[in-house]
Amino acid sequence: MSHEQTEFAEFFQASWEPCLRAVIASTGSVQLAEDQVAEAFARAWLSWRKVRQHPAPRAWVVRTALNAGVSWWRRRARELPLAGHDVTAPRDVDDGLDAALLTALRHLPDRQREVIALRVFLELDTDTIAAHLGVAPGTVRVHLSRAVRTLRHELCPSAPMEVNQ
C-alpha cells in the first residue's frame, strides 16, 4: 500500500463517524446519510491528491456528501416514471433521532445548517469554515449566530426571539 493509500485509509477510519454525524444532522436520515457519506469518501479516494491539500478534508467530504444527496434526488426525480425497481425513499425521520431537533435543523437555510454541522460535528473554527466555504469569517459568525437563534427559538419557543436592529 502506497503512502497516499495509507494516508487515505487513516483519514477514512478517523473521519467516517464525524462526517456521518454531520450529514445526518442535515439529512435527518441515517440510511441516506450513510450512502451519501460512502459516496463522498469514494470521490475523496478518487481525488485524494487534491482533497489532502484541502484546508479541511472532512468538510470537503461533508459538502460532497450533501451535494451527492441533491444530485441523487434530482436524478431520481427525472427517472421516477421508469424507476419501478428503485430503492426505498428515505424516511423522514429515522428511529432514535430527535424529531424536534431535526425539524428545527430543517427550518434552517442550507448554508446555516452546513455551518452548524461543520462547527458542531467537525469542530472546525470560524476561520477554517470560512476558508472552506469561501466566505469571510464574519459571514460565518453571522450564519452561526442566526442559526443558533433560530434553533433556540425552535427548541425553546418561550425564549425571547432577538430582533435585528
Binding site: 450512502d35 430503492v87 425564549a159 425571547p160
Partner: protein, 252 residues
C-alpha cells in the same frame, strides 16, 4: 448548569448550550459501522468507469455508429452494451451472442444485477463483475451453496428482489417471492431468498460485512431465471445442493 442552560419554559439557552444540544442529540445515536475501505475504493473505481464509459458511449453515438443495446428479453430492461459482456452486434451469418447478464452501478450506492433469460451466465464472469463493484460473491450455476451459519445481516438487507418482500418459510428457511409489485423491498429475512421473476436485482454491497460473501446460485436451464441468494462466511465449509431444472431444490 445555570439558568441560561435550562430548556424549561422561559429560560434562554446560551449559544454553547444550543450547540451542545445539537451535538448530544446526534452523538447519542448508534452509528452504523464504517464500511470496509475496499468497498469505498471499489465504489470509486466504479464511478470512474461510469464516467469513462459515459464518455465513450457519447462519442460513439456522436459518430453515428450503430449503438448496441443489451435487451432484457422478458423484462424489457436494457443497458449500455459497454457495461455488459458479450454484446456485440454482428452483421454476418453467425448467431448473435446476446448478453447473459449485466452488472451496473445503481442509485444510492447500489449495484444492479440482471440475468437475462435464454443465456446462461458464466459464474466466474458474474463473480468478477460483482467484485469490480466491491461485492464479494460466490456464484454457482446448477447448484446453490451455503455455510452452516448464516452471518448477519439478513440477506434481505443486502439483496432487494424485483418482487414482493421475501416471505419467510419456517423461520430461517428459504423464502420465495410473491406476485410482482414494483417499488421498494427491503427486509431482514435471515435465510436465503429466491427470485423467479423478471427484473433486475438490487444489491447493497456496502452492507456485506468483512469476512462475508454473497452466495448466488442459479439454474443451468437458460429458460429458467430462478436465482437464490444467501450470505455465507468466507472460508467456512460449504454445503452445496443441486438446483433441479424445476421445483425447489432439496432442503427447501
Amino acid at each position: 448548569m445555570n439558568d441560561n442552560d435550562e430548556l424549561s419554559d422561559g429560560a434562554m439557552l446560551r449559544d454553547s448550550a444550543v450547540l451542545s444540544a445539537v451535538r448530544e442529540s446526534i452523538s447519542g445515536l448508534p452509528m452504523p459501522a464504517a464500511p470496509r475501505l475496499e468497498a469505498i475504493t471499489a465504489r470509486g473505481r466504479a464511478r470512474q468507469r461510469r464516467r469513462v464509459g459515459g464518455l465513450s458511449i457519447a462519442s460513439v453515438a456522436g459518430a453515428g455508429a450503430c449503438a448496441a443495446l443489451v435487451v432484457g428479453l422478458a423484462g424489457g430492461w436494457s443497458s449500455p452494451a459497454g457495461l455488459a459482456p458479450k454484446a456485440a452486434p454482428r452483421h454476418d451469418a453467425s448467431p448473435i451472442q446476446l448478453a447473459a447478464f449485466s452488472v451496473v452501478a445503481g442509485p444510492h450506492g447500489t449495484t444492479t444485477l440482471t440475468l437475462y433469460p435464454g443465456q446462461v451466465a458464466k459464474p466466474s464472469a458474474v463473480r468478477q463483475a460483482l467484485a469490480k463493484h466491491g461485492i464479494p460473491a460466490l456464484v454457482t450455476a446448477g447448484e446453490f451453496c451455503r455455510t452452516a451459519d448464516q452471518p448477519a445481516p439478513g440477506v434481505g438487507d443486502v439483496v432487494v428482489l424485483p418482487q414482493q418482500p421475501p416471505r419467510p418459510v419456517g423461520g430461517t428457511g428459504p423464502v420465495r417471492t410473491g406476485a410482482v409489485r414494483t417499488g421498494a423491498v427491503r427486509t431482514g429475512a435471515p435465510g436465503p431468498v429466491r427470485t423467479g421473476g423478471p427484473g433486475p436485482i438490487v444489491i447493497y454491497g456496502s452492507r456485506i460485512p468483512s469476512g462475508v460473501k454473497l452466495s448466488i446460485g442459479y439454474r443451468q436451464n437458460s429458460q429458467d431465471r430462478e436465482i437464490s441468494f444467501s450470505l455465507i462466511k468466507a472460508g467456512e465449509p460449504l454445503t452445496c445442493t443441486s438446483i433441479p431444472d424445476n421445483g425447489p431444490h432439496p432442503g427447501d
